[in-house]
């Protein structure tokens, strides 16, 4: 049976580690003997919990432990990968996975360059980002109490017909061993609380979602005024009941911190992922060093931003993380890289490799992505010279076609801007555009930049991310 072991089982020594270093070391040596130029074993163990409540009553609470392991072998310049929940079966997979990599390599045409890996420091260490209040020691009652605070804040109005609240936390433990001698162990935690308020007026039904969370334990949730979070969600849902459909067409757009974050994530972040650039699927191919946006625009992706939902100490190839400046004053300065793309483009690796879990191989991903602050004092200063436009707030998600460079994102709520003032509340606002046009159209940013609500990013694999920035004004955007 393919099943994994827990620490303390016969598969693991008494070190608190899941992988037996000696045994894995022998397996990796075996890969080298079979012709691998590089091989790694990465194990991820999740201790997780999710809770769902509805109208203040517990709907479900799900504690769980998941464990997965991926063997990745580079042979003759091509990858072979084997993922499993069975630690004990690993040794049997070395030869076949190496053979698989060689079979892929044999199909490479003469014009294709073999996969190589940029050099990185080879480290043997452990890094544990300890939470002040460990999620593994948080009782269900505590979680329910906090979810009920959010519920209390959101309830108390006749038009509110349903309030859902949710909780999720996880402790992530990773071990990485490679043929280069890398032996790293790291762990960290994430916590998230969220709510959805549904309001009804006759046949009109609207919903508003709210979230708070980040890297860390219970303290991340405790720092939030949950009553206020609920109250604001209720107010927004009630506003949506009175909101009109948004106007359609090209017009000035002002986006709050949440939407600014989603915008920069979709419009710029994804096209900056070097695996997409190398695959010929990015509109930013060949544009490093070129001016692609207004000089107001500086964008940073930073996994070391503690507390951000996309924070992590070490990437999934064992590379130390650092802040990456993707755009500096409108000039494209850096792609997000993992070791393979760094080698391909002859760049320094910058710790951008992330995998969803132990059963997936690392891809190039974002972490905490933000536009830096600008020069405008506040929202009013951005609105002042807009005759007719839209102020859009809160994200309902977005999507991008990186090759074409077109993107879309949707707001939770919005207001019409008329002669510099916010007037009519609007609903169902979506915004679309072309990356290389709209980055030029950013013409105002407030001074204060910060991460907004936590989010999730899908790219075949789902990973938590943080996005944010200041309040942003775009001269002209297609509002739908």
């Amino acid at each position: 049976m393919v099943m994994a072991a827990n620490p303390g089982s016969p598969h693991t020594p008494s070190t608190g580690r899941y992988l037996d270093q000696e045994r894995i070391g022998r397996a990796l040596d075996n890969a080298t003997q079979h012709g691998a130029t590089y091989a790694e074993v990465r194990l991820v163990a999740f201790t997780q919990s999710s809770v769902a409540m509805r109208d203040g009553a517990l709907e479900r609470a799900i504690p769980g432990q998941e464990l997965g392991l991926t063997l990745r072998v580079l042979a003759d310049g091509a990858w072979g990968v084997h993922s499993t929940t069975d630690i004990s079966s690993l040794s049997e997979q070395i030869e076949s996975t190496t053979r698989l990599a060689k079979a892929v390599a044999a199909r490479r045409s003469s014009g294709d360059s073999p996969v190589g890996l940029a050099e990185v420091p080879i480290l043997q260490d452990e890094i544990h980002w300890k939470s002040k209040l460990d999620v593994r020691h948080t009782e269900l009652d505590t979680k329910m109490e906090m979810m009920n605070e959010l519920f209390e804040g959101a309830s108390g109005h006749n038009d509110v017909v349903s309030i859902r609240t949710g909780w999720s936390d996880e402790h992530i433990h990773t071990e990485l061993l490679t043929t280069e001698g890398m032996d790293r162990v790291w762990s960290f935690q994430r916590s998230l609380i969220h709510g959805m308020v549904t309001a009804r007026d006759g046949s009109d039904v609207v919903s508003y979602r709210t979230r708070h969370g980040g890297q860390g334990g219970l303290e991340v949730i405790r720092e939030c005024d949950l009553m206020e979070l609920g109250e604001n969600a209720q107010k927004a849902a009630l506003r949506l009941l009175k909101a009109e459909r948004a106007p359609s067409g090209k017009m000035p757009l002002v986006a709050d911190r949440d939407l600014t974050g989603v915008y920069i994530h979709e419009a710029l972040g994804h096209p900056c992922e070097a695996d997409l650039v190398a695959a010929g699927d990015s509109c930013l191919d060949g544009k490093l060093g070129q001016k692609i946006g207004n000089e107001l625009v500086t964008v940073v992706d930073d996994p070391t931003m503690m507390g951000g939902y996309g924070a992590y100490p070490i990437d999934d190839e064992g590379v130390d993380t650092r802040a990456k400046v993707l755009i500096k004053n409108g000039v494209l300065t850096e792609y997000l890289n993992h070791r393979e793309t760094a080698h391909h483009f002859d760049l320094d690796p910058n710790g951008g490799a992330r995998a969803q879990d132990g059963l997936h191989h690392p891809l190039v991903r974002m972490s905490n992505t933000m536009i830096e602050g600008g020069t405008h004092a506040d929202l009013d200063a951005l609105l002042a010279d807009i005759e007719y436009g839209v102020y859009a707030c809160g994200s309902r998600g977005g999507q991008v076609d990186t090759g074409r460079g077109s993107f879309q994102f949707a707001a939770q709520e919005a207001w019409l801007i008329e002669n510099g003032e916010l007037t009519q509340p609007l609903k169902d606002v979506s915004v679309s555009g072309l990356t290389l046009e709209i980055l030029q159209n950013v013409d105002g940013l407030t001074r204060d930049a910060a991460l907004a609500s936590p989010g999730f990013c899908g790219k075949g694999q789902t990973v938590p991310v943080g996005d944010g920035g200041p309040i942003m004004r775009i001269r002209e955007a297609l509002v739908g």
Partner: protein
Amino acid sequence: MLPDHAVDRLLENASIVAKACKTNNVEQWDIVGFQSYGHELDIEAGKITLAGGGGEGGFGVRVLEGGRFGFAHLVDVSGAERAVQQALSIARKSPVVAGFVLPSEQQAQEVGGRFDRDILDLGPEDLLQQADDIISAVASADERAVVTGGGVGVSATAGCLMTSEGILSHGLTTSHGMGIQVSLDVDGQVTSSYQGDSSRKRMKELPSCIDRAVHWAQITQNPIEVESGASETPVLMTSEGFSPLFSMVVPPAMLGEKMVREESFWSGKLGEIVMAEDLNIVDHGLLEGGFSSGSRDAEGVPRQVRPLVQGGRLEAMLWSTRDAAQQVAQGRIEKASSTGSAVSSSHQSPPSTGCTELQFTSTQGASSWEALLERMQDGFIVNSVMGAHTANPTSGDFSVTTSTILRVEGGEIVGPLKQAGLSGNLAKALQSGVHLGDDVRRQGSYSSGSMHLPDALLMNGLRVNPA
């Protein structure tokens, strides 16, 4: 690919979890388990970049005491005792759902076509050959076209359901899938299209998705200028364009819980006309070869063929045992019982209510692509949308973006647009003037199950806003 006695070994481990339930004197329990094995290849930049394989699985255990339930999931059955105790402690904090008991054993019908032994014989070398064939087929269709993403994969899954009420269900399923992103870069103008196909059976020939992907990358080159500004217009959507919006909006509207909680745009409309009077929706839980059909649902209740909308009239809603009991207990509906619609997305979550194989048809019959174009006269064709996940399932409103949109005038395609917004209310758009294409495609769903939708759908009442 599949180890010997995979199902037996899965059942052995499920029995260990069951034993932990019995040891802890759990009143009622059910255990779902699965173990999947597979091979996959990634294609990027016109070449195979990675070959992978492996297996994963786990167990979910639901315990029930006096109408209170708890759940836990685990990978390693040596932790079964702890998982059961965790589930029990959660159950004791949960509210009582009066009348909620796990279903008893009922005769269930076998559903064929979900397992193909041929797939088990497919090894990495076969997939490598298939990937080569895909790359060659794209190059043959258009030498400028490159496969920039996607791949091919096969899998076999052993699954089981074991309950305290004597239900023991187990079996094997297989799947074979291909999906490709084709890009066309002509003088710096990049167009692309993603298309995919999958089957429970081995796909011996390259599926039509390859040609479709190349076609849409080609046909959206050289955009024409169209006056900016939103207008209400007929839209002919391909199955690929329509399915994400449909899946976000329509399946959730038919869930019993959402209906009685007034969270569906069809709440209170049971027995009323809600769609054009020629339109039907059936949830075919017993569909041969289906990806979500089967003899039993995730709670062990026999699957059914359930007409939901007949002649435009809303005739039924979907229930799992638990949702039905909860809504009756809370007084939102007088009587409700399971429709065999419990679904479980993985071992990590307890059963909820969902669709299996939604079939969307018209009694008016179907029209060819050319006939639909002729009927539309002036309007747009949309092949894919961005942002379908932002559609509002409680209202049916959506506002999305498309970069694969063609302008049609006088029944003829005059050219592609670079980008456009597409918005409207899907529930309202389905109420009249809907015409279906003459082929059916299986599509995945944002919500649950699979959908069998026409290859093309002509609708009115949508707004197009060219960039």
